[in-house]
Assembly symmetry: C2
Homo-oligomer: 149 residues x 2
DNA sequence: ATATATTCAGATGCAAAGGTCTGATAATAT
DNA sequence: ATATTATCAGACCTTTGCATCTGAATATAT
C-alpha cells in the first residue's frame, strides 16, 4: 500500500500530539490515549516505550503514572519522532530502490527526489511540538480531532 | 521502515525504465530483466502482469516473447506505474493516519502535507517514460546502473 | 504494610507483503 | 506436427509489521 509513515509511526505522532495539548508536567496514562485516539492499547504501550528509550518521553509507573514529554516542547521536532520509530531510510535511500545510488552515480529520479526529500525533511525538522500545540489550542476543530476537551 | 514506494513498485519502475531504453517494438523477456536488475524472476513476472492488466505493458508468450510498452513512451507517466502497483492512498489519505481528515476538518499537518503531496504528484505525473529514456541515452552512468550496453 | 494502578518485558498470535514453485497455455521455429 | 521458449494463473511458503497476552516490577494512596 505504501503510506509515507508506518502505522506505528502514525500512532506515535498522534499520541505525542495529544499529550502536547495537555499541561506538560502531568503524566498521561495510556488507557486515556488509546481510548481517545482509538489506538490498540498494548501496541501503543510498546510504541511509547520506544520513545522513552529515545529520551523523547519519560514514563512513570503506578497510580498517577503514564507518559509525558521529557523535554520542552519547542525542543522536540516531528522529525525526532519519525526518526525514532521509522528510522531515516526515507531520507537516505534511493526512491527507485537501486542499491548503489548517489549524487555521483544517480538514478533517473535522483535529483528530483533529493529536492522533494529535503522539503519533507525541512518540514518535519522545522515543526516542533510546541508549534503544533499552539495551533491546537487556537483551533476548536483540532481539539475535536484529538478528542480533547 | 516506511519507504515511499513498496518494493514491488520499485521493481516495476526499474523494469519499465530498463525496457524504455530498448527499441520499443521488441519484446524483452523477463529472464533478461530479472538478471540485469537483480530482481527475483517469478515475482517480477507477477508484477509485470499487473502492468499488463492495467494496459501499461503488453506481453507475448513463446520464443521472442516477453513484455513491451503498450503505448508510446510519452504517454506513460511514472505516476501511472505507481498508481497501478501501490494505488492512490499515498496521494489521498491523512499523513498522520486520522481516519476523518479533510480540508474542512484538517489534522495539524494537513496543509503542509497537501502541498508536499501535490509536488510529489506533479513530479510523478509530469515525468514520462520518454523523458527518462532520453536521459538514459545521454548518460553513460544511467546505462550502467540499468546494466544496459 | 497492603492494595491498587500503571508501565515494562518478553513470548506469542495474526495478517499482509514479499517471494517461490508448478503446471498450464500459447506462440514460434524447425 | 513437434519441440522449445516464454508468459499466465494459482497455490503455497516465508518474513515482517501489527497486535495481543501474561506476568513482573514499581510507584502511589490508604
Amino acid at each position: 500500500m505504501a503510506l509515507i509513515f508506518s502505522r506505528q509511526c502514525e500512532y506515535a505522532l498522534q499520541a505525542v500530539l495529544y499529550m502536547s495539548a495537555k499541561p506538560q508536567k502531568e503524566y498521561t496514562n495510556i488507557i486515556e490515549i488509546s481510548d481517545r485516539l482509538d489506538i490498540p492499547m498494548p501496541f501503543l504501550g510498546k510504541t511509547l516505550q520506544l520513545l522513552v528509550q529515545k529520551k523523547i518521553l519519560s514514563s512513570q509507573k503506578g497510580p498517577k503514572g503514564g507518559f509525558k514529554l521529557s523535554k520542552p516542547p519547542d525542543e522536540i521536532a516531528l522529525y525526532h519522532i519519525v526518526e525514532a520509530i521509522d528510522g531515516t531510510d526515507l531520507f537516505s535511500s534511493c526512491v527507485l530502490g537501486f542499491p548503489k545510488c548517489s549524487s555521483t552515480n544517480p538514478c533517473p529520479m535522483h535529483e528530483e527526489w533529493s529536492v522533494m526529500r529535503d522539503r519533507v525533511y525541512q518540514m518535519l525538522a522545522g515543526k516542533t511540538i510546541s508549534d503544533i500545540s499552539k495551533e491546537i489550542s487556537s483551533s476548536k476543530q483540532l481539539r475535536m480531532k484529538l478528542r480533547l476537551a
